[in-house]
Each structure stands twice: as C-alpha cells, then as structure tokens.
C-alpha cells in the first residue's frame, strides 16, 4: 500500500501536466482525463481508507518517504507523506468532492477557449491540496498550502480578460500571502524551538519540550494567522467574496469545499501546539467570523457572494469548534459543509448556466424552481442542510458545536453562536426564496442544465442530506474515526441539558427561515422598498461592514503613496539625488578650477610662485 498512496497526489499532477501541454489537442477529452485522474485518486484513497481501518486503532498511520528534500545542519525536511485518520478524512473529501466537481465542470466549462487549461489548473489544485493534507511535515504542507494558493490565483483569474477577475485573483493571493508569511514566521519559530518541522518531532514533544507557554501561544497564533488568510476569517476575509469572479466550479471546489478548509485542517492538525490562550483566540475569531459572515450574507444580491459570506460564516463555526477543543466536530462540519456548500455552488452555477452564463444577480431571478426543477430541488436540500434544521446533515454537524459551547461553559459564546445560527437560517432561506421562489423577475429564458452537471449535484445532495448520519451523536462515526488524530471530546458536563439546547437551536433556525419567508418568500413584503427604507443598514451589510472598503481606501492608498514617496521622493530624489549631486559637485569643482586656467602665462607663473613659496613653507614648518 505505501507505494501506491503516492499515486493519490501524483495522478492529478500527471493529469495537470498532460493538460497543460497538450490540453488544446485533447479537446473535450481534457476534461474527462482530468476527471479520471481525480476519480482514480479517489478510488485509491478509498483503498487506503480500508487499509487504514484494518490497522489497530493506536497505529492507524500509513507513511511513505520519497527522499530527503532539504537538509541544512541538523535541520532536515523530507518529502514524506502521512495518512492518518485526519488526513484520510480530508483525502476522501478532496478527491471525492473534487471528482464530482471535475465531472460537473465538463458540462459547465464546455466551449470555453481554454478548456484544457482549466482542467490543468483544477488537477494541479487537487494535487497541491493532496500534498497539503498528506504532508508529514510543516514544510511540505506549506508547499501544498502555497500551491493551492497559486491554483486559486490561476483559477480566480481564469477569465483574466475581465479586469475584475484578474484583480480578484491578485487580491486573493496577496491577502492570503500575508497570513502565509506570518505562518512562515511561525514555522521559523518552531525550528528555533524544536529544531524540526516534522509533525512527528514537533507535535509529540510540544507538550513536554519545556517551551514556555507564551512562546507556544505565539507559535500557535502565527500558524492560525496562516489559517485566517487561507480560510477567509476576520480580518483577512476580504478576498473571498471577490474570488467569486472565478468559474463557479472553482468556487465550489476551492472556495467552499477544500482549500478554504485547509485552515481548519491546520489548526486541528497542530492542536497539540495550541495553548488555552491561543485556543481562545481561535474561538473568538471563528465566532466573530461566523456572525459577521452570516450578517454580511444577508446584504448580498449576488448569489455567489452571498454564498461566499456563508462559507466564511460556516468556516467560522469550524474554527469556533476547534477553539473550544472540539476538533472532531470541526472536521465533521468540514466534511458535511463540503457536501452542501459545494452543492449549492454547483446549484448556483447551474442557475447561471441556465441563465446564459454569467448572471449572478438574485434581483433578476426568482421562481426558477419551476423552470429548473432538478437544480431547485437539490438547492433546497443544500439550503436545508445549511440552515441547521433536522434531518439534514447540517443539523447534526453544527448543532453539537453550539451545544458544546454551552456544555463547556462558554455561555456568552453560545448566545452569539445561536445568534449566528439565526442569521444563517435567514440568509440561506433568503437566497433560496429570492432565487427559486416567487415569480421570475428576469428577461432571460432559463433552462435546466445537462445531466453531466446534474448527476454530480445529485451525488452531493445525497451527501448533504445523509452526511449527518456520520455524526449522528457525540462521538459519532467521524468523530470516533478521527479520535487517534484529534483526541477524544471532553464530556460536556455543564450548562443546559442537551435536549433543551437542541430545541433552542431548532427554534432559532426555524425563526430564521420564517423571517426570511416573511420578507422574501411570501410576497407580502416589498423587500425592495424595505431595503430603501433601511438603506444605511443594507449598505453596511452589503459592504460587509466596510472592512474591504477600509482596506481599499485606507491601507492600499497608504501603501501606494508610501511606495510613490519612496520611489520618487527618497530614491530618485534623496538617494540618487545625493549620488548625482556628488557627481555634479565634482564636475562643478572642475569647472570652477578651469577658470583659473586663464590662458595667460603670468597667471601660470603666479601659480608656480605660489608653489615655490608653499614648498619652502612646508619644509620649514615640518622640519
């Protein structure tokens, strides 16, 4: 087995290379080739999965080493992969969901002039994502980490002719790079403290290494900064809504199911490093993002942007869970979220497809349920799952997290999480109603999408619907499976009784749905007029509390002005000016001296006399 697990990442890589160089010639087969490689990877992952569960629980690890990669002094990094339950889970999600989205893309991207290129990038993305989750050390993980960033960049800017797309791509890369760099500093600090970056070396000794708690907190927070960037948490979330400029399958795969969850994976993977303080930071940021994303989503008219904020919010929940120590719950939510969120993205893609390509404005949709019944139906499943209402998967994944907050005594956080849950139900219902219910408000001729798109959606819908079974109870299947990697959950002994909590959650979610129905679904409220009346509030939500605007209007101009000042003021003016000035001064001095050379012989004689007198004087003085 160990040798074959190399095939998991390498197959997509091979697909990527083939498509990169021969994509044009392969024509529409490029897509199928790409899908096949990912599918095959999925199959091998499954095989690995079965191999893994056959192992005894304590030793559930598959590792393989290719070669020593970087060696310098006592510091070694190897190209080495590790499959433990945590990465196994991620593997299955990445290859599974990835495969489905690849298949879907065959339909969605049909006729694009850079069809082959698209699949090359997608395959490359899957490769890097697999490297990220399979790496056995932080450096290799960082390779995947940056690699997915690159693919995200390439894919967001896939239609680079659009200014917005190229801008968004660049923005995504740079913003995440800020987090990545902090993470890199964290890695440097880890090398400084532990002398290694292998998971085995760092994570096992983290508790007993004698490194002070303060330092551990710094390391953990720096790593978490990387996660903030990648997973679009406050305050580095601004790239995610813009990233929706990319083709929709990209949004589904990268910006919903896989890449953005890498941050969660990182935190869970490194949980041994997280001190209580660091965990509080994670929980607070996660919760804030959950609430923020939910609120901001309510203000969006663009279906994809609304979903993007939703993703941010959901990721916030995951971090919240991780911050509370409920790592397995975080991963469980990650898994089911991958199902329903990518489902909804694919759904929105299907809608766009049905509306002729690029229409994302929900204000000109409505009533599509009738025109695109399959898409609509599956979207309902997704939305249901997300809203956290039973019996869909979202309920089983999210509710335990909220309850766990209460159970571990974080009452204030629990209240906020509940609030976020209310808004989650609200925004997702809003999207659903605006898009699929009521009357069609547009002027296009919507049509249902082809099977090649619908079938993957169907599979995902099944996952979204029944994924909850995996997490049916505390320490459900996923949690139990993950235990060797994440540790067991604490018994939630405090707070309100479990059934009450569940009831509260359901009631709140229902309230959210009901509110949404009232405003956007029932047709009794003129929501356009309502928006006009509360314009400042709406604007605030639509702009995501103006965080992005603050960056764009304060930070960026400051940087550019600084650059301009340094460039023309300091560099050309002062530094180069000094250099040129020195040159000019030299030349000017020469020019002045030239005037002494009058051409008149008596001047020269005077100079000689000056010289004679000076020589005699010097000799006399220095004797």
């Amino acid at each position: 087995m160990p040798a074959t697990i190399w095939l998991i990442p390498l197959l997509p890589l091979a697909g990527a290379l083939v498509n990169l160089f021969f994509g044009k010639r392969l024509g529409r087969y490029a897509g199928w080739l790409a899908s096949a490689t990912v599918g095959l990877a999925f199959a091998i992952s499954l095989g690995a999965f079965f191999a893994l569960i056959r192992l005894p629980e304590e030793g559930r690890e598959l590792t393989a080493t290719a070669y020593e990669w970087i060696t310098s002094g006592s510091f070694h990094v190897a190209i080495e992969i590790l499959i433990d339950p945590l990465s196994m889970t991620m593997l299955l999600v990445v290859t599974g969901v990835g495969f489905l989205i690849h298949v879907y893309s065959n339909g969605y991207m049909k006729g694009d002039p850079r069809f082959g290129r698209f699949f090359a990038y997608m395959n490359l993305f899957v490769f890097f994502m697999l490297v990220l989750v399979m790496a056995d050390n932080y450096v290799l993980m960082y390779v995947g980490w940056e690699g997915v960033g690159l693919c995200s960049y390439l894919l967001i800017g896939f239609w680079f002719e659009k200014k917005a797309a190229s801008h968004a791509a660049k923005k995504a890369f740079i913003v995440t790079r800020i987090g990545d760099t902090l993470m890199l500093i964290g890695l440097a600090l880890m090398v400084f403290q532990f002398g290694s970056l292998a998971f085995g070396d760092v994570l096992t000794v983290a508790g007993v290494s004698g490194v002070s708690e303060g330092t551990m907190t710094v390391i953990a927070v720096l790593l978490f900064c990387g996660a903030i960037g990648k997973s679009a948490q406050l305050p580095l979330h601004v790239w995610l809504p813009d990233a929706m400029e990319g083709p929709t399958p990209v949004s589904a795969l990268i910006h919903a199911a896989t890449m953005v969850t890498a941050g969660v994976y990182l935190v869970v993977r490194s949980h041994a490093l997280f001190s209580p303080t660091a965990m509080t930071v994670v929980a607070v940021i996660g919760l804030a993002s959950a609430l923020y994303g939910a609120l901001a989503s309510v203000g969006q008219d663009d279906i994809k942007r609304a979903l993007a904020y939703s993703t941010m919010s959901q990721l916030g929940y995951m971090f919240f869970a991780a911050g509370l120590g409920a790592y397995s719950l975080a991963i469980a939510l990650l898994v089911v979220h991958a199902f329903y969120k990518s489902l909804m993205f694919l759904g929105s893609g299907s809608v766009m497809h049905g509306l002729g390509g690029h229409e994302t404005d929900m204000r000109v949709m409505g009533g599509l349920r009738k025109l695109m019944p399959a898409t609509g139906g599956m979207f309902v499943i997704g939305a249901w799952a997300l809203s956290g209402l039973p019996p869909m998967s979202g309920f089983f994944a999210k509710d335990p997290i909220i309850s766990y907050a209460n159970g571990t005594g974080h009452v204030l956080m629990w209240i906020l999480a509940i609030a976020a849950a209310f808004f989650s139900a609200l925004y997702i219902s809003r999207i659903l109603f605006l898009t699929f219910f009521g009357a069609y408000r547009g002027d296009k001729h919507p049509h249902e999408s082809p099977k090649v798109m619908l079938i993957p959606m169907g599979v995902l819908a099944v996952g979204a619907a029944f994924g909850g079974l995996l997490t049916l109870s505390i320490n459900g299947a996923i949690e139990h499976f993950l235990e060797p990697a994440t540790g067991a959950l604490h018994e939630a002994g405090e707070g309100l009784p479990e059934p009450l909590l569940i009831a509260i959650s359901i009631v709140v979610a229902l309230a959210g749905v009901a509110t949404a129905w009232l405003i956007w679904g029932s047709g009794r409220v003129d929501w356009v007029a309502l928006r006009e009346r509360n314009l400042p509030t709406h604007e605030m939500l639509a702009h995501g509390f103006y965080v992005d605007d603050a960056y764009a209007n304060l930070l960026v101009p400051t940087l550019l002005a600084g650059s301009r000042f340094l460039s023309s003021g300091i560099d050309s003016g002062l530094v180069d000016g000094a250099v040129n000035g020195l040159g000019r001064l030299t030349e000017r001095t020469g020019g002045l001296m030239r005037h002494l050379q009058t051409g008149i012989v008596r001047t020269y004689a005077l100079a000689i006399l000056v010289g004679v007198a000076a020589l005699l004087l010097i000799l006399e003085v220095m004797r």
Binding site: R594, I600, V601, R602, L609
Partner: protein, 101 residues
C-alpha cells in the same frame, strides 16, 4: 674681505625676488625674459658668494655654466619671441591666450 657672506646671499635673494615680481607683473615678453635673466644673475651671485665662503672654485665654475646656459637660452627665447611677434605683431604675453581652460 670682511663683508659677511650672508649679506651677499640676502642681496641675491632680494634680487631673485625682484626678478620673480618682474616675471609676474610685466606683460612684455622681452621684459619678462629680462627679469628671468636678473634671476639667473642673482643665482650667480649666490654661487660665487658660496664659493668664497666654502673656499673652493666649484661655485665659480657653476656660475660659469649658468652663464653659458643663459646665453643659449637667450638665443632660443628671443627666436621664439620674434617668431611670435611676426605673426601677432605684439610682444604682450597676455594676448597669447588662445589656449586655456
């Protein structure tokens, strides 16, 4: 002979300086040249005075050579001045200032 040799040497120095001033302030090439001759003669005075002081004849021989050289120099110098004068119609050295800077 009771005049201190130092007197002659100082006199020689004074004459040399006067010659120097002449070179610097006069503009007529001939007068400048004459001033140089004055300088050479001042040096000769020094040489002969030293010769007397040291009690050997080398100084006088040196003065003799100085005169020979001066004679040759005068020929060349006057020839140059004449040649220049032929073309420029002036012996004013200040007007020979095409080359400068």
């Amino acid at each position: 002979m009771t005049t201190p040799i130092g007197y002659y040497l100082v006199l020689s120095g004074i004459l040399f300086s006067i010659g120097t001033v002449g070179v610097l302030v006069r503009r007529n090439a001939l007068v400048i040249f004459m001033s140089i001759e004055l300088q050479l003669n001042a040096v000769n005075l020094s040489l002969i005075a030293f010769s007397r002081q040291l009690g050997d004849l080398q100084g006088q021989v040196l003065a003799f050579f100085s005169m020979v050289v001066a004679a040759a120099e005068v020929v060349v110098g006057l020839a140059i001045i004449v040649a220049i004068f032929r073309r420029r119609r002036t012996a004013n050295v200040d007007e020979s200032n095409l080359l400068k800077g």
